[in-house]
């Protein structure tokens, strides 16, 4: 085995670009490891973990790029190194040499004088400074970066409030402004339903359901996941709510968040009292009692929030529907699956790329099942002993830090999930796989394709043991998304998966089957 580490001084590329180049090179024959990163302290640790940290790398700065390769032979290394260099050059030239790339915000604004929003995704330690500069220049900000301190978040949101600007984030993954998707968002119909969302995939699921029911979206204002904490006090949700209340196009408002701090929940609900438009609130897992005597319309999950919004938008009555399919058809599916299991099979494994989708599924599962172990457990006692090993019924948010160290988020690169699925497939007690496929901008170009292969191979393993693996999925996407929704669904169905129209329905079907097995 041979190793080589090359440093390219003063050569900055963003992490997503570098990870995607490294992934391509790593798939070449004879290559064991490829790391292409900027020399940040964190990345130096990663290099150390794979034995590619040299004294030269230790001296390098975050402006320097490190290419570390481990391969069968020196010849393979030379080939991989050339391929990496070529990919880097190709990336820059595909961006267009003719295109002017300003080095400062001032010159960017000079070039685009009507600019009204800054989308910021630089590493977290540099992000507040860039956001502050943008706000001071009068730009609204969407701050995608995470690892920003709560103090910096409050400072930025207070500055934005003073200036009357949006400060979406930090850690804001999804927004739709004027029907244009920002970062991780779907292409949805324009309409009269406006969202303020502290949860990215929560907003994605709600907007795609709205779209699928023939209604549309005016704006999605993201707040970042920490907005409704005591420290931040819902500063951005409050601003977003007021903005949507004043916006002529918006007729129905949806607020979505994980359960906020009680005093912040109270504050938000008090503000809802002042709004003349119907406001549907989904504090995922939040208590319904909070809504007693409140004008806010309670919804227990994302699907319900979306369907209530659609009903209000269309002037119709909301009716709860457990499944879009007939009860008869559901029973047929359940019985068919039950007939195929071996006697050991009894557990569910839910492998999620979307954190809020995982939460929604766990809340539905927990209504009927005794326990759901997780890396983001609903109850403390359901925390996994080791996140690397599932226990009984387990649901994982694979987008959490413990799974994304040194690798892309599973919505960008399906590898984390396909690897985990292969691991689950070795467990003869597993009967049901539950998972999400999130489409839209930001996500992988073919998430269903990669997952379908992994499902097929897991099902073959179960069959070889005389059993069967049920794969229940939902696709969070629209026909207008860049991935082609119909094709994505078809790939999953061809692999033998059951594709449900929403995450909530997928979770309900999984619950039904697992409950029946254990009856």
């Amino acid at each position: 085995m041979a190793k080589r580490v090359k440093i390219k001084e003063n050569n900055y590329y963003d992490s997503v670009t570098l990870m995607s180049i490294a992934k391509d090179i790593k798939s070449q024959e004879g290559i064991k490891e490829v790391v292409v990163v900027m020399a940040t302290p964190h990345n130096k640790e990663l290099l150390e973990n794979v034995g590619l940290l040299t004294s030269e790398v230790e001296e390098a700065t975050p402006k320097d790029m490190v290419i570390g390769i481990e391969a069968d032979s020196e010849a393979e290394i030379a080939k991989a190194l050339t391929a990496t260099e070529e990919a880097l050059v190709a990336k820059r030239s595909s961006d267009g040499d003719e295109k002017y790339r300003p080095r400062t915000l001032d010159s960017a604004i000079n070039t685009l004088p009507e600019a009204n929003l800054a989308l910021i995704s630089v590493p977290g330690n540099y992000a507040p400074k860039e956001a502050k500069k943008a706000l001071k220049k009068g730009l609204h900000v969407m701050l995608f970066s995470d690892n920003v301190s709560v103090e910096a978040e409050v400072e930025l949101k207070e500055l934005a409030a003073e200036k009357g600007l949006l400060m979406m984030g930090p850690d804001c993954g999804t927004a739709i402004i004027n029907n244009k998707p920002l970062a991780f968002a779907n292409v949805v119909n324009e309409g009269d339903i406006g969202l303020v969302a502290a949860s990215g995939t929560g907003a994605q699921e709600i907007t795609v359901i709205i779209d699928s029911k023939g209604a549309g979206v005016s704006q999605v204002i993201g707040t970042g996941g920490r907005d409704l904490s005591v420290e931040v006090g819902g500063l951005e949700m409050s601003k977003g709510l007021k903005a949507l209340a004043a916006d002529k196009q918006t007729q129905v408002i949806v607020l979505v968040s994980k359960p906020p701090a009680p005093e912040v929940a109270k504050k938000v609900l008090t503000e809802v009292e002042q709004i003349d438009k119907p406001v549907i609130v989904n504090f995922l897992g939040g208590k319904q009692e909070l809504f007693t005597d409140s004008k806010a319309i309670y919804s227990s999950n994302l699907e319900e929030a979306a369907l209530k919004a659609v009903a209000l938008s269309k002037g119709e009555e909301y009716q709860f529907q457990e499944f879009s399919l007939d009860e008869e058809k559901i029973e047929e599916i359940v019985n068919q699956e039950l007939s195929k299991y071996s006697s050991e099979q009894q557990y569910l494994r839910a492998l999620y790329t979307g954190g809020t989708l995982c939460d929604e599924a766990m809340l539905i599962l927990a209504e009927e099942l005794e326990s759901i172990y997780s890396n983001i457990p609903l109850k403390e006692e359901w925390a996994l002993v080791d996140n690397g090993v599932s226990q009984q019924h387990t649901a994982l948010d694979l987008g959490e830090d413990e799974f994304t160290q040194g690798r892309p988020h599973p919505m960008i690169d399906p590898l984390t999930r396909t690897e985990r699925l292969a691991q689950e497939a070795e467990d003869e007690e597993v009967a049901v796989l539950l998972a999400d496929v999130v489409l839209g901008y930001g996500s992988h170009a073919d998430p269903a394709g990669e997952l379908a292969k992994a499902i097929k191979s897991a099902q073959q393993k179960a069959a070889a043991r005389g059993g069967h693996l049920t794969a229940i999925l939902s696709v969070c996407g629209t026909e207008a998304d860049p991935q082609n929704m119909a094709e994505q669904v078809e790939k999953l169905e061809q692999a033998g998966a059951i594709v449900m129209p929403s995450n909530a329905q997928a979770a309900r079907l999984a619950t039904r089957i697992v409950k029946e097995i254990n009856n």
């Binding site: 080095r103 009204n116 989308l119 995704s121 009068g138 009357g164 004043a246």
Partner: protein, 58 residues
């Protein structure tokens, strides 16, 4: 209150993208005017120096 936000809703979205270039590419596909900043860590990646420069700027 919210005047600038309502103005944003009325105008064409135009974006300065600072960071992941794929976000700018996606916006271009949706026909949004976007300019990509040629961003790199400030002051040669020296965080201490960067923070001094930062405080001078304020």
């Amino acid at each position: 209150m919210s005047k600038k936000v309502l103005e944003l809703f009325q105008k064409e979205l135009q974006v300065v993208n600072i960071g992941l270039e794929s976000f700018a590419e996606n916006l271009q596909e949706e026909e949004v005017e976007v300019i990509q900043l040629d961003w790199e860590p400030p002051a040669g990646g020296d965080e201490e120096l960067a923070s001094i420069l930062d405080s001078l700027m304020d």
